[in-house]
Amino acid sequence: MTAVGTEPRQVDLREPAGWRRTKNRIMTWLMVLSFILVIIPLGFVLVTVIAKGASAISWSFLTSQIPSIVAPPGVGGIGPAVLGTIEIVALATIIAVPLGVLGAVYLNEYGGKNPLAAFIGFMSDVMTGVPSIIMGLFIFSIWVLHFGFSGLAGAFALACLMLPIVIRSSYEMLRLVPNALREGSYALGATKARVTLTVVLPAAIGGIVSGALLAVARAAGETAPLLFTILTVTAANPNVFSGANTSLPSQIFSNANQPYVGAQDRGWGAALTLIAICFILMIVARLVTARFARYARY
């Protein structure tokens, strides 16, 4: 107590004051504001579709035949469109997802730095930016002109759309698998294919499935690629390999063009159905990811 300079140092543990505090508050509010701005249009869309379409939804709506455009609200439904969407999107998924995952496996595990891998990666990125109607026109010129309109052609067009998305998301998921896992598997005497199939893919599967489901949801909502490939009709066509077909987005498109109340009503109902399907797919994606990540948790 007698020596100079032994006074205990004052420690200031309060929140930063003055300009720092104000800046902090401004940034916090800016971020909240941005979030609200983003949510508003999303909320508007959801509320509008639900408000306008809810009255049309019923089991008979989802299964009945498509009536003529002058039919009043409550008559008929969009059954063929639901069937068409499910069939065409399922077929597109079967085509695009295995190809996309295998492509990503090649790019990440086998391709390395060789020119072919670089080329495939680059073209896949370019394809994500190609307008979806181009995909439709492409399939139109190489398939439809020779084999006619069909759900299969629509599936091809949607697969072209899904493929780059699946490749890119699977590639990122595979890259995230730590190299230590691969080394551990190699050290036990596994061949490269074994390592990829038994360690790398299972470790990445959650993310791969979730990415694939996102691609599916995107494809389910596309109209443009289907314009020239399925030739929207109103009759149900369970045979997806031959004959023109229809899908929910196509039906929404054609109904939206009609002046009749009934058609408009059914269009809104179809829109709500489509959103509901995408929503269900998202939930399934979450559940699947959680299930597969069971061993990645503690």
Partner: protein, 293 residues
């Protein structure tokens, strides 16, 4: 590498504390004397960079051989050469000859998978697969074709016993392998390696990420399995080398002034007791007495 003041070289060096209490380490050679690995003039390049130069040594059966030395001296590189793990690095190249029980490891036509099935490896950072504990240990036997559940159960239990992990996990074999503590995870990786019953177990600083208790458990484990396996361990911890190993190889770094590159070189190789009590080379002496890092 100037030798230290002459009078120090002639004087009796005080024994490191670790050696005084663990004379048993290295004293009784359980080895059979058979040569397991024979490396002659091995140099390892990464592209044009020479990482390790002119290493020649022999590893003997049923012994624990330790590689010690400062960081960056190529101990891990040489270790990985013994089971062709350097093949996984893009531009790695091995010159010279490595023979495993008489057969050349780098001859054309040799399958790296067959090599690695016989020469297992445990890594510095424990890397359990994101699978259940059971599936982690059963992974090796499964990829070798074993399908019968009863046989797999038996192998899993035996390996976990050998790795001194059975009691801790026997009631939760279906829990995720990622949920184990560091020491347990490393023992799981050892169990996984032992499940395929390799001939040799290579260990790359297996205890560097572990606490002393877990380290002690793994050293006990090494001594127990020595009679069935040949073990080569890379370690930064000199006391560990004196505690467990029969032979020790000391590596150091050659600095090339002109190109400013560092190349690993094998300085001295001999029985552990001799390396630590009576090192022949001054660099070894400087390292083991702690005068150099």
């Amino acid at each position: 590498m100037d030798s230290p003041e002459p009078n120090l070289v002639k004087t009796e060096l005080p024994k490191p504390a670790a050696l005084q209490e663990t004379q048993r380490a290295g004293a009784a050679f359980s080895g059979t004397g058979t040569t397991v690995f024979d490396a002659k003039n091995v140099s390892i390049f990464y592209g044009s960079f020479k990482a390790v130069t002119d290493v020649s040594l022999a590893i003997y059966e049923n012994e624990i051989t330790a590689f010690i030395g400062p960081s960056g001296c190529g101990k891990t590189t040489v270790l990985r050469t013994l089971n062709r793990m350097n093949d996984l690095v893009a531009n790695a190249r091995v010159d010279g000859e490595v023979h495993y029980r008489g057969a050349s490891l780098y001859a054309p036509g040799v399958s790296p998978t067959a090599v690695r099935r016989r020469i297992g490896m445990v890594f510095q950072k424990p890397n359990p697969f994101p699978k259940s504990i059971y599936d982690n240990v059963a992974y090796g036997p499964r990829i070798n074709g074993e399908r019968k559940k009863s046989k797999l159960d038996e192998i899993v239990e035996r390996s976990l016993h050998q790795a001194a992990l059975w009691d801790e996990v026997k009631n939760r074999l279906n829990a995720s392998g990622l949920g184990l503590s560091g020491g347990q995870a490393q023992r799981l990786c050892i169990a996984r390696t032992l499940a395929v019953e390799p001939d040799v177990v290579l260990m790359d600083e297996p205890c560097s990420a572990l606490d002393p208790i877990a380290t002690g458990r793994i050293e006990d484990l090494m001594r127990e399995i020595k009679s069935q396996y040949t073990i080569v361990i890379v370690t930064h911890n000199m006391q560990q080398a004196t505690r467990v190993s029969d032979r020790t190889a000391f590596y150091s770094v050659l600095r090339d002034e002109k190109s400013d590159t560092r190349t690993g070189v094998l300085v001295e190789y001999g029985q552990t007791q001799q390396i630590f009590e009576d090192p022949h080379d001054s660099r070894t002496q400087a390292y083991v007495t702690g005068r150099m890092g």
